[in-house]
């Protein structure tokens, strides 16, 4: 009896594989996200305010590096973007409820993984929080006891302390500064090799929508371009907002 079952399984599998090869739409989405987006011509995107990844203004379309990326993706698909503003947790929840098709806002792989109902793309850009020094300043191997300027809204003081440094508010007068690696060139600083934190950035998608995932990831591979430059551009534009309150 068992050989019969096995043979049936083998034949079934072979036919499935053949069908899979002939069908351009493989893999498919259990909930048909990609099909729906193409049919209706609308992609629903949750935008989470997180300068300079996504900058949500009171009115008008969101700006920021990832908002730009989403618009390019929508253009690639030939659809328009329906933006929905949401805090991070609600954006991921909306993915689980299938209320949105994509969530952006500088999400990290770690943050999305913690949320059961959402999945994420491959880490298409990696950033790190580094300690940088002014050019010409001696670059130390460790922080032990040194004063490190921490930019506003960075929440890096604890990380500096953990490395043995002394965090102070960024006044521009301190030779060592904690900041995201992509911001260093714009400020004319040189990274020291001391890394406080590494982040793997992803876009958040509904779970299990594999055709949709493949399309988004393919776009990221082909078109994401130099995210560091994008981030710097939006960082500069939103200058006053990132300053101290």
């Amino acid at each position: 009896m068992f050989p019969v079952i096995l043979r049936t399984a083998a034949v079934l599998l072979a036919s499935l594989l053949l069908a899979g090869c002939q069908d351009a739409r493989f893999p498919r989405d259990p909930d048909g996200t990609l099909d729906r987006v193409l049919r209706t011509g609308v992609v629903r995107v949750a935008a989470v305010d997180n300068v300079p990844w996504v900058i949500v203004d009171d009115d008008g379309e969101p700006a920021g590096a990832e908002a730009e990326l989403v618009r390019a993706f929508a253009a690639d698909l030939g659809v328009r973007v329906d933006w929905l503003r949401a805090p991070a947790f609600e954006a991921l929840d909306a993915l689980e409820r299938r209320d949105v098709d994509l969530a952006v806002g500088g999400f990290t792989k770690a943050a999305v993984t913690m949320h059961k109902g959402a999945s994420h793309t491959f880490p298409y850009v990696k950033t790190s929080l580094v300690v940088a020094a002014a050019p010409g300043v001696e670059r130390p191997d460790g922080l032990d006891g040194r004063t490190v300027a921490v930019g506003p809204q960075l929440m890096a003081a604890g990380l500096v302390e953990a490395e043995g440094g002394r965090p102070v508010a960024d006044t521009g007068a301190v030779p060592l500064v904690a900041l995201p690696d992509w911001r260093a060139p714009a400020r004319g600083l040189v990274p020291t090799g001391i890394v406080l934190r590494r982040d793997q950035h992803v876009l958040a998608l509904p779970q299990g929508e594999n055709a949709w995932m493949l399309r988004v990831e393919d776009f990221l591979r082909r078109q994401a371009g130099d995210m560091g430059a994008r981030l710097r551009r939006h960082d500069a534009r939103s200058g006053p907002r990132s300053g101290p309150p």
Partner: protein, 321 residues
């Protein structure tokens, strides 16, 4: 008369064990390569994870076999005056219990994924400049994992029968069934590709139930052996004919009035006692020793059997065979 001699395996069986050991070493190398390939392709697929755990588990029986055949040969010593032949039965039990526990865990894991309606997400990788769905890589890895176990499973069956090695037999069965696991996992991934989110968890559950069933069956068989159940054939299907042959051979002796055999399986050997009532009420020890070596000559597996002459069989606690 020394009732417990160290087992002397005939030359043919010694060579058989050496061959089986070589086979297992080669198999371990293949298994390691399979486990590595599957691990590298492991994504969010529940079925794939389950298949991988099963492959990891496949390490237990060969290692148990190699350990048991190594220890089994140690000569009896002060601490273990009977020798080490029972180590094979223990190896059988250990691998069976491991199998059953993991089967239970996998059933729970697969059922939980179904109940939570987890939609497995499988991403893509860049290959030769294009985005390739990782499902294809998983299927390729599984396809590689399907062929070697079938070949090795078949190769192990004959020595397992010839050597009456239940560890080797269980291992061969597991290997033969292993390819179903690979196919089921592939079906799960193809199912995901067709947008059937539950196909993967269902395939995982199917594999897990199979693992659990194997584990329970072998655990029960190993426990029965350790409980001195009447010896059974290596595939556990029928009662071993050897004890019957021993009884018949003893009953055929002209000076034996009545006899009872109390035999069990220890590893690959049949051991125990034959109680006999001499026709004249007494027996020459030389005659007894002669009869014992006749019994041992029946089969290489009959080695630790001692003959005991008693005046009355009614005190012997042995079910008639």
């Amino acid at each position: 008369m020394s009732p417990h001699r160290p087992p002397r395996l005939p030359e043919a069986q010694r060579r058989g064990i050496a061959r089986a050991r070589r086979l297992q070493w080669i198999w371990l190398v293949f298994l390691a390569s399979i486990v590595t390939v599957i691990y590298l392709a492991l994504g969010n697929s529940q079925a794939m994870k389950t298949a991988w755990v099963e492959d990891m588990l496949s390490f237990v029986p060969p290692i148990a076999f190699l350990t048991a055949t190594w220890i089994e040969d140690w000569p009896p010593d002060r601490r273990f005056p009977i020798g080490y032949i029972r180590v094979t039965s223990i190896a059988h039990l250990v691998s069976a219990v491991a199998l059953a526990c993991v089967g239970l865990f996998l059933v729970y894991d697969g059922a939980a994924a179904l109940i939570r309606t987890e939609h497995p997400t499988i991403g893509s990788v860049e290959l030769f400049g294009t985005s390739v769905w990782m499902g294809w890589l998983m299927i390729a890895a599984l396809a590689y994992s399907v062929v070697p176990p079938v070949v090795f499973g078949r190769l192990k069956m004959r020595p397992a029968r010839e050597l009456h090695d239940k560890v080797l037999w269980a291992d061969a069965l597991m290997n033969k069934a292993d390819w179903m696991t690979g196919v089921a996992a592939m079906a799960g991934i193809v199912g995901i590709g067709f947008g059937l989110w539950w196909a993967d968890a269902a395939a995982a559950l199917f594999i897990a139930v199979d693992v659990l069933r194997d584990g329970v069956r072998h655990t029960l068989a190993a426990v029965r052996d350790l409980m001195d159940e009447v010896p059974r054939s290596v595939d556990d299907r029928e009662v071993d004919p050897l004890p019957g042959r021993v009884r018949a051979a003893v009953a055929d002796l002209p000076w034996v009035a009545e006899s009872r055999v109390r035999l069990r399986e220890e590893g690959r050997f049949i051991t125990g006692t034959v109680y006999l009532k001499p026709r004249d009420g007494t027996v020459d020890p030389h005659r007894l020793a002669e009869a014992e070596s006749m019994v041992r000559g029946l089969h290489w597996r009959v080695d630790h059997v001692s003959l005991v002459a008693v005046p009355d069989l009614s005190d012997v606690r042995a079910a008639p065979v």
